[in-house]
């Protein structure tokens, strides 16, 4: 039997990733370069809200204190969020958003493929459903990164700049702490670090095809596993949680 507290924390990490990135993608609504792309970005966001719902609902059940997915999304403070920092970074331009989608969805394809064999049946089921979604996200992002990297001089510059700026946030994707270690032993979680070589190989291929440089690994940002975030998360939450906080007695 897994330590429920570890499992709870693990589910929050997965759920918060989906919740926070869905929030960022939803900010693109009515702002995309082509109306067709507006619909695509919204679809990704909707996929992620669905994933966040499922994971946070399960987290609430595991915790056993009667908290719903909405309680967990709307009534936790900054230091209680565990999403990777890369998810909360502001959208930047379209190149930045697509570069992030590529780096994240490539990681998520590997992660959820592995998690679809989790000994925890709920996680395995959510992972199997998510895998289909993130494969599409990755294909879409891959195409755009290549188009923009190998498009015009301006798009190349923007894309290279985006990849460079994002790189120091990628190390965190593969971090593991004692929560992971415990759950990996039990066959519930995945050793993220073991996914790294495949991720690097794939990202290297795409960036090369896009005529982009793969940045050198240097200083890597960290902190989310302890609830230490960038300054951006607080602003996301003050917006996202505004109604719940302004009218604590209301149901919507």
């Amino acid at each position: 039997m897994a330590d429920q507290n570890n499992l709870f924390k693990y589910l929050l990490r997965l759920g918060d990733n989906a919740l926070v990135l869905s929030h960022r993608l939803s900010e693109w609504c009515s702002r995309a370069p082509l109306i067709e792309e507006d619909l695509a970005l919204t679809n990704f966001s909707l996929d992620m809200i669905g994933r966040a719902q499922a994971l946070l609902k399960y987290a609430g059940e595991v915790e056993g204190k009667g908290r719903t997915e909405d309680d967990l999304a709307y009534k936790r403070a900054e230091r209680q969020f565990y999403n990777h920092l890369v998810m909360e970074l502001p959208n930047g331009d379209f190149a930045f958003t697509m570069a992030r989608q590529l780096l994240v969805s490539a990681f998520e394809c590997l992660l959820f493929e592995a998690l679809s064999n989790s000994k925890d049946e709920t996680i395995a089921a959510i992972a199997a459903k998510t895998l289909k979604e993130v494969k599409y996200h990755r294909a879409h992002a891959e195409d755009w990164v290549i188009r923009l990297g190998d498009g015009t001089e301006e798009s190349y510059q923007r894309m290279q700049h985006a990849v460079n700026a994002l790189w120091m946030y990628t190390g965190e994707l593969f971090e593991a702490d004692e929560v992971d270690a415990e759950l990996i032993r039990e066959g519930i979680a995945v050793d993220q670090n073991s996914l790294r070589p495949q991720w690097q190989e794939y990202i290297g291929q795409v960036l090369t095809e896009a005529k982009l440089q793969v940045p050198a690994d240097g200083y890597m940002q960290t902190g989310s596993r302890k609830g230490i975030h960038t300054e951006h998360l607080g602003h996301i939450l003050s917006e996202m949680q505004y109604l719940q906080r302004a009218y604590p007695d209301a149901t919507w």
Partner: protein, 319 residues
């Protein structure tokens, strides 16, 4: 007049007569069919305005996506706004069959030559506005769109059939928000009534001027582009909406509203047509904001579109 021009004129008259017979007989008009130039112009104006309305309409609701109060609410709102983008796209696609490009339509929107629905020049101030927009604005739009499913131009009619099918949940989601708030705290009830007060009249204006003052109506009816008059549609909307308001305890902000037993309809107070005209002519709360947003996004997306085209051209040259 030269003999050739006279012949052309006669031919046009003949074609026009035949066209009108076909349309009167209930035939759908397809893109490559002969059509009077004014029919084409009327459709381009109407369909592009309709498309722009869907796209500009994403903005007021988009204002609340990041503040939606639950994951379910956020999902629904996002899916609804996405539908609106999709509907704009279906309509642009229908207009393009008439020989106008989306580039031209967007340029006309930016220059002010093409309009969009006035309603989106009002601000979405509170969460209750999301309820009011779904219930009243989409509710009014649906009355109009259902009528347009039988419009004579095939691509427009097919787009409207699809749109109506997809929009059936839009009005319900808005009504659900209002109903939920009317069951809630005093603050929520006040918010809901306030939204009702601000959106009711603009929603009625969505149907356009009274029939007696509609400048283009004659042709549109003869060509079966339009199937019901503005006042008929407005009345239909009022009759069904008043009852829905009563069920959840909202007050319609019209002291003159009363049931007319003889007519079988609600009589309503006079609409503020001066406000309507002002907003159409640019003097509304959000006219500038909405158009500026669209222009800014369009300008910011230019490098992306150009790069995608450049990449395609490079690849095409290699093969």
């Amino acid at each position: 007049m030269g003999a050739i021009q006279e012949l052309e004129l006669q031919l046009n008259e003949l074609l026009e007569k035949k066209f009108e017979e076909r349309v009167q007989g209930g035939d759908a008009v397809e893109p490559r069919d002969w059509m009077p130039e004014n029919y084409r112009k009327h459709l381009v104006r109407q369909i592009s305005q309709h498309a722009h309305s869907e796209v500009i309409g994403m903005q007021p609701e988009g204002n609340w996506i990041t503040r939606a109060p639950s994951l379910r609410a956020k999902q629904i709102l996002l899916a609804k706004i996405q539908d609106e983008g999709g509907h704009g796209l279906y309509l642009y696609s229908a207009a393009e069959t008439l020989g106008i490009s989306r580039d031209e339509m967007i340029a006309q929107l930016h220059s002010g030559k093409a309009k969009y629905s006035n309603i989106f020049n009002y601000p979405a101030l509170t969460w209750a506005d999301i309820g009011a927009i779904g219930w009243l604005v989409d509710g009014a739009a649906i009355v109009n769109q259902v009528s347009l499913q039988r419009t004579s131009y095939g691509p427009y009619s097919r787009a409207m059939v699809r749109i109506c099918k997809e929009e059936s949940f839009h009005q319900r989601q808005g009504y659900e928000i209002m109903a939920q708030m009317m069951k809630g705290t005093a603050d929520q009830k006040e918010m809901a009534q306030d939204a009702m007060n601000r959106w009711w009249w603009p929603a009625l204006m969505m149907f356009g001027p009274h029939d007696t003052e509609s400048p283009h109506a004659g042709d549109a009816f003869r060509w079966k582009i339009k199937r019901h008059t503005n006042d008929e549609l407005r009345q239909k909307f009022i009759d069904k909406t008043v009852q829905q308001a009563e069920v959840i305890g909202l007050t319609v902000p019209d002291p003159d509203l009363k049931w007319n037993e003889a007519a079988g309809h609600y009589d309503h107070g006079e609409i503020n047509w001066e406000e309507f005209r002002n907003v159409i002519n640019g003097d509304g709360p959000c006219n500038k904001q909405r158009l500026d947003h669209h222009k800014k996004v369009h300008a910011e997306g230019e490098w992306v579109r150009v790069a995608a085209a450049a990449y395609h051209a490079k690849k095409a040259n290699k093969n």
